[in-house]
């Protein structure tokens, strides 16, 4: 799936490679055969319903959980055979980020910087930089316990970035963040990708990923689902139309015999079109008919479309 974000730096950089990975917890098959690669210098979205095994997969990539079967490499390091170096190469942000009762934000970051082998002064400098980037400077001296959900999430991201990892694994990073933080998160991810880092983001907030991802990996019931079958080129989907003269638009649609629904209290209308070709035809016809059409856009994002098209049940 081609991305709408920055072009991936498609050099032979190793990113993440997952081949035939399985992992059970007792009788629960949390990950049941996942295969994909996430190239370096790109943001890869990991999308799937609740319980589809995303968190479990990230745990295996972070070197914390051993796959029952299959091979996992990050930055060209086998996570099993080269566990420590793989761990050093990876920055992992778990979906829930616990905090130490009485440590301040700065102390948390310096502790982790030290754990990654930085000197005390380098650790302090790094912590200051990251707090600044995450707009947490004001909270630097406060115990992390008192942070709000979104602030904590930002601190969690800073923590994952503390050693400037080659591979970044983010498990629902945007949850709880305000719109401004989300936009900044997007910018951060984009700039990291430009630097050649490999980024794998799992999120349920698909509009979030929409603008930043280069690739998407769909998982369902512990399996990666082939992305080709969800190509939305020919899929029936809703499109949002808007014109400076709404009446003209509605008259045009009536005449063309295209069914539409009107959204409450606005000049928008929504039409069902089968694929991109229909959309192109509609635009041509509207222009010919002199309708002052200024907006035509899919109602849902491509990821969301694809996701819904998966048509798999939630676990």
């Amino acid at each position: 799936m081609a991305g709408s974000g920055a072009q991936p730096g498609v050099d032979a950089q190793p990113g993440i490679s997952v081949r035939g990975v399985r992992r059970c917890f007792g009788s629960v098959r949390a990950v049941d055969g996942m295969t994909f690669t996430a190239p370096a210098g790109a943001v890869t979205a990991l999308v799937g319903p609740n319980g589809s095994g995303k968190t479990t997969l990230l745990l295996m990539l972070a070197g914390l959980l051993q796959p029952d079967e299959g091979e996992v490499t990050v930055a060209d390091l086998d996570v099993l055979r080269d566990n420590e170096r793989a761990r050093t190469a990876v920055g992992w942000m778990p979906d829930v980020f616990g905090t130490w009762d009485s440590l301040t934000c700065t102390e948390i970051l310096t502790t982790f910087a030290r754990a990654y082998g930085m000197s005390a002064s380098a650790a302090r400098a790094r912590a200051r930089d990251l707090l600044d980037q995450m707009h947490l400077t004001e909270l630097a001296g406060r115990p992390a316990r008192v942070l709000s959900r979104g602030q904590r999430q930002r601190l969690g991201l800073a923590r994952a970035l503390v050693h400037d990892p080659q591979v970044l694994l983010l498990d629902e990073p945007a949850s709880g963040m305000d719109p401004r933080s989300r936009i900044e998160l997007r910018d951060t991810l984009r700039s990291l990708a430009e630097k050649g880092k490999t980024i794998l983001v799992s999120s349920h907030i698909l509009s979030e990923l929409e603008e930043v991802y280069n690739h998407a990996v769909f998982v369902s019931r512990g399996r990666t689902v082939d992305a080709e079958i969800v190509q939305p080129v020919a899929a029936e989907r809703g499109w949002r139309l808007e014109a400076t003269d709404p009446v003209a638009l509605r008259v045009f649609l009536d005449r063309a015999d295209i069914p539409y629904t009107q959204t409450s209290g606005s000049s928008e209308v929504i039409v069902q079109l089968s694929g991109w070709d229909s959309a192109v035809q509609l635009v041509k016809a509207a222009v010919t008919a002199d309708v002052p059409l200024h907006t035509i856009a899919p109602v849902a994002g491509r990821l969301e479309e694809a996701y819904l098209a998966l048509n798999e049940e939630r676990v």
């Binding site: 914390l64 778990p94 440590l103 502790t111 930089d129 700039s191």
Partner: protein, 445 residues
């Protein structure tokens, strides 16, 4: 937002990248320090621990005051010199501090790992290049350091008891060193259980069960086991009057009583007139069967007891070295009232086991006006002639003297350290990543 500097980082990260693949057992100074720092910061900053320290200080203080008042009045009562109050007070305070230390030590580690796991802070730490050993050892060292602060807080009171005399600095140092080691063992046990159980209630209870077993069960079990090692028909060699001579002598005494009922039979001034002299020249070896308790078969069960370990390791006051009389540990323990020496003498006596030879003859000398005294430990019998001299009677039975030689505490401490090492290993084993199997209901993060 986009300036993510990576200037001096790559260099320093490289120094850490070791060639080892699975670094579960790797241990570096820097890694250890990182974890110790983290743990100490976390513990020390809460007000709770200061409150606990204050409570601890006042409890030990109150206890010390009580002990000192009690020992002072006791030694005045018995007419002993003040010097004996020192060892007694020191011993009591040391045992109390050890007991209190054993009670609080589990609190420092018993919820350390499962608590972190429940808080969601463990996995992020494990995901760093820190090795499992660095994490576990860091937690142990930090908890141990905090526990050590508590022990050290009791030092002023120990010094106070030293003022009573008879206590040397070496004694204090050795007692504290052994106590530090024992507390470290309890910390390790707590750590092991906190890695084994997910619920902090379970791990805390289990740690206290182990502490209670070590300090109480190790006494109860051998005490009950003495029933099993009590043997009815055991042959003991006795040096004394042979049965027929014994019988004859009893006859003679009976006859003497019967001869004149009105005679003065009082023993106040030695043997009354006409009392038949015991035929001590007829003393010889013969065998009798009797019931004996083989304490030497069960005594070792008390070895892991922390109180026994500390008592046995505590050196005797230097004053005892000068006095040959004090070579008998039991004697010293009884005279000084030093509880450490008392425990030590009891354990070592049990280790010697039942006597296989006995001197009954020596008691006959009382009828000759000699003074026969059994020493406090019950193992040495001394004979004093009426004129105060030591007679030339040499008992053919070796005196059983409990001495300070052949210490037993290294075994006890060794057993404890093995236990601690085992639980440390359990904790490391449980936290080894990547996890192969997870306990039911545990999530990594």
């Amino acid at each position: 937002m986009s300036s993510i500097t990576d200037t001096d980082m790559t260099a320093s990260t490289d120094t850490r990248a070791r060639s080892t693949t699975m670094n579960t057992w790797g241990l570096s100074w820097r890694g250890l320090r990182t974890v110790v720092d983290l743990e100490l910061r976390q513990r020390m900053r809460s007000k709770r621990w200061l409150v606990a320290l204050a409570v601890w200080f006042s409890v030990i203080g109150a206890m010390t005051t009580l002990v000192l008042v009690a020992t002072a009045s006791m030694s005045r009562y018995s007419g002993d010199t003040e010097a004996t109050a020192g060892p007694m007070a020191f011993g009591l305070i040391t045992l109390f501090v050890l007991g209190a230390g054993l009670v609080i030590a589990p609190a420092f580690t018993a919820t350390s790992i499962n608590g972190d796991r429940n808080q969601g802070t463990l996995a992020t730490l494990q995901a760093t290049p820190l090795s499992t050993v660095e994490i576990v050892a860091g937690k142990l060292v930090a908890a141990w350091a905090v526990a050590a602060v508590f022990l050290v807080a009791a030092l002023p009171f120990i010094v106070w008891s030293m003022l009573l005399g008879g206590i040397s600095v070496v004694q204090v140092l050795i007692c504290f060193a052994v106590m530090f080691a024992l507390i470290a063992v309890v910390c390790a046990v707590g750590l092991g259980f906190s890695a084994m159980f997910d619920r902090s209630a379970s791990s805390t209870v289990m740690t206290y069960v182990v502490v209670a077993s070590l300090s109480v069960l190790t006494l109860i079990v051998p005490a009950l086991a003495t029933v099993l090692v009590t043997v009815d028909n055991t042959t003991v060699r006795v040096y004394g009057l042979p049965p027929e001579a014994e019988w004859e002598y009893q006859q003679a005494i009976d006859d003497w009583y019967m001869a004149d009922q009105d005679l003065d039979h009082s023993w106040e001034n030695g043997a009354p007139a006409g009392f038949p002299a015991p035929p001590v020249q007829k003393c010889s070896w013969h065998e009798v069967t009797t019931q004996v308790t083989h304490t030497d078969r069960v005594w070792w069960m008390v070895l892991p007891n922390p109180f026994v370990v500390v008592s046995d390791a505590a050196p005797l006051p230097s004053s005892t070295k000068a006095d040959p009389y004090y070579v008998d540990l039991g004697h010293y323990a009884a005279v000084s009232g030093d509880p450490l020496a008392g425990i030590r003498a009891t354990v070592r006596e049990a280790a010697i086991g039942p006597e296989t030879e006995r001197d009954d003859c020596i008691w006959l000398y009382t009828y000759l006006g000699y003074n026969v005294s059994q020493e406090y430990s019950g193992t040495t019998i001394t004979l004093t002639a009426p004129d105060g001299s030591r007679p030339d009677y040499v008992s053919p039975v070796e005196p059983r003297v409990v001495t300070t030689g052949t210490p037993v505490w290294p075994w006890g401490l060794g057993a404890n350290l093995l236990l601690g090492a085992f639980f440390f290993w359990v904790a490391v084993h449980r936290l080894k990543i990547p996890y192969k199997r997870l306990r039911k209901g545990t999530r990594v993060a």
